[in-house]
Amino acid sequence: MPDIPRRQFDSLIIGAGGGGLRAALQLSNADASVAVVSKVFPTRSHTVAAQGGMNAALANVLPDNWHWHMFDTVKGSDYLGDQDAIEYMCRAAPKAVYELEHYGVPFSRMDNGSIYQRPFGGQSQDFGGDQAARTCAAADRTGHAILHSLYQQNIRAKTHFFDEYFAVDLLKDQQGNILGALVFNIHNGEPVVIEAKTTLLATGGAGQIFRTTTNALINTGDGMSMALRAGVPLQDMEFFQFHPTGIAGRGMLITEGARGEGGYLINADGERLMERYAPKAKDLASRDVVSRAIATEVREGRGCGPNKDHVMLKLDHLGEDVIQKRLPGIRQTCITFIGIDPAKAPVPIFPTAHYTMGGIPTNRDGQVVVPVKETPEEPVPGLYAAGECACVSVHGANRLGGNSLLDIVVFGRAAANHIIDYLSENRYHRRLDSDSLEPALQRMQRWDKRANGDGESVSVLRDELKAVMENHCSVFRNEDVLTAGVAKVEALVERFKDARINDDSAVFNTARVEALELENLFGVALATIHSAQARKESRGAHSRIDYTERDDKNWMRHSLYSLEVGVDYKPVRTKPISVDSFPPKARVY
């Protein structure tokens, strides 16, 4: 056994965004010893960038019901979501919001003192009726408010944080139990083995596989790729959400709340374009629908600007007061990055890579599940996942706005509750041998010695990967483009084997972190483009111009991509917990 310092905890959590911190708080409050490992200080996690809000049927503004929320989420998922998990989430939502409020989240308020809720895309009353207002908001900084409050509560609960530690790989024994992870301290490069009876992956999404993205630079799919390398397949990775309103060419997010507050999209002719694509819901149709509409307008020559390559989001009719009160953050972002005040002029926008619907397959207790012989979903002992890195799946083929903040707190909490049960039945750490430690150490030490200079740099390969994914796996896809994309990504993976970095320092070596992150991006990119090529239908965010229809008979099933077998499938869990199943129907907004 190599001579590496070891630390022992009941539970290890990798990632300190909203999912990881909600789980950590539940565990710390239950007196479990918890280690939270994060490559950045917790409040730098990407939850901080979530703007518009969090869905829950509180009915503070308009009538509402968790069952309507469930219907909208199933429909929004294009019937690929697992209905037991969706029922669980929608039922848990009001309590999840109240808990956050009790933790101190500064939600915006109604005159009667209750939490302010705004309309968001894909929301309806009474199973497809009038627009609902279900999204609980703290101005347009809801993610910031939630992340900071959860971190603050973890300070109170004395959770043990390993800030600026990078997780390299999961450690497991011969029987397949997950026993913790190899991590290293970014400050001094020292490796540490963290032994834990349970490990929760809460590492977020992987928007950095695309060139233009709303995602932070840290969103590199680390947990997803760790799972892949541990033999866990990734589920539904072809479903990547392109947010309709990223700032054109730059990628900064303009919240859907901007349309929820009354903003709308116009094309070069000044026409309200969504009236043609979604006559009823208009600008508050599902994100996949709005993104396709914008891309279609541009393809058909009705885009704005000298290159006709974007459309405009009009907000100035809302008045400066509403914009300053409800959308102060995006106003500042527009002024800073493009010099446009949305209170005075429309904002150029275009669909931008935003959210990884797919991820590490789990059940609704957050347990990671894999196919074993005839069983499609067998838990991996000791391993959990929650939040964007996981695929429960509550989002299916298309996530509704406001459901991701909900997902992270509901399933962070659910996973922690299952972990508490697991800990009561598994009182001792299992023995850790060096079998799975060796490859993890090698993966890390590969970058220790200054390479000789014949390989390419990490940044060159990363830029190429991002361009390939953007050109070959974007809003609209077809067989030829995808097939070429698969070949290009695989060629890049080969070239990466000789990649080099020119920094061999032990002290805060960000070049090494970026190299390890790129390796993780390759795992995610392979899963995404292989799964996209294999799925011969259009569903949710996966739009094939050569297979334009949804095909429930052949394709209402989850994709599973693994390094060992490539693309495989498993059934959708169509049976909810207590109510009738929502059978697939044509999606009209």
Binding site: P106, R109, R156, A216, T333
Partner: protein, 232 residues
């Protein structure tokens, strides 16, 4: 465009030095973070700095830019005097290049017990708060813990372990002002003494540099008023 950047790697350097870099193709609208990433990607991989969201909400890439603290990701290079001189945040130990050890800053933040305290049993639904009560949190809750303010404050430079600094005090105010919080008395009592709060000499550097446009001095003055009222 010319840049002059503070370099120090304790692994190899006896002492810090300034290194010059030049970028030829600076696109219009480029932010300083974009320029730093370009230098790192194309000229010198060893240049080290923190970064994450790239849009001014995570607080990672705070640094001293031509003498003034700010976030690289929302500082346009177009308006900057050349060579753009970039240093780590002043007043905190340097780990490497532009990366400082933030532990003292975080310690001060934890010292103000930055979490909501409610002693009463929690209701089944939300704790009620009127829009007017909620408005009092505007200008306080938006802090991103970038440390631009505290590390531009001379009082913090002299006594970082005794004076809490503007960022931590802004957080103290955020909970003192929150109508739901029931620990106001303890919070005010904890700020007594000559250092923790009263080392603020209203120099107002914090207000000048806050990248989120917040006003820690105002928050500190509001706490001072409450403490005076309390002592009467």
């Amino acid at each position: 465009m010319k840049f002059r950047i503070y370099r120090y790697n304790p692994d190899v350097d006896q002492k810090p030095y300034m290194q010059d870099y030049e970028l030829n193709d600076v696109e219009s609208g480029m932010m300083l973070l974009g320029a730093l990433l370009k230098i790192k990607d194309t000229i010198d991989e060893t240049l080290s700095f923190r970064r994450s969201c790239g849009e001014g909400v995570c607080g990672s890439d705070s640094m001293n830019i031509n003498g003034i603290n700010g976030l690289a990701c929302i500082t346009a290079v177009a308006g900057l005097k050349q060579p753009v001189e970039i240093r780590p945040l002043p007043g905190l130990p340097v780990i490497r290049d532009l990366i400082v050890d933030m532990e003292q800053f975080y310690q001060n933040y934890r010292d103000v017990k930055p979490y909501l305290v409610v002693d009463d049993p929690m209701p089944e639904a939300e704790l009620a708060q009127t829009p007017e009560q909620r408005d009092k949190l505007d200008g306080l809750y938006e802090c991103i813990l970038c440390a631009c303010c505290s590390t531009q404050c001379p009082s913090f430079w002299w006594n970082p372990d005794k004076y809490l600094g503007p960022a931590a005090l802004l957080q103290a105010s955020r909970f003192i002002e929150d109508s739901r919080d029931q620990a106001t008395e303890e919070r005010l009592a904890a700020l007594e003494g000559p250092f923790k709060l009263f080392r603020c000499h209203t120099i107002m550097n914090c207000v000048q540099v806050c990248p989120k446009g917040l006003n820690p001095t105002l928050a500190i003055n509001n706490i001072k008023k409450k403490m005076v009222k309390r002592s009467l």
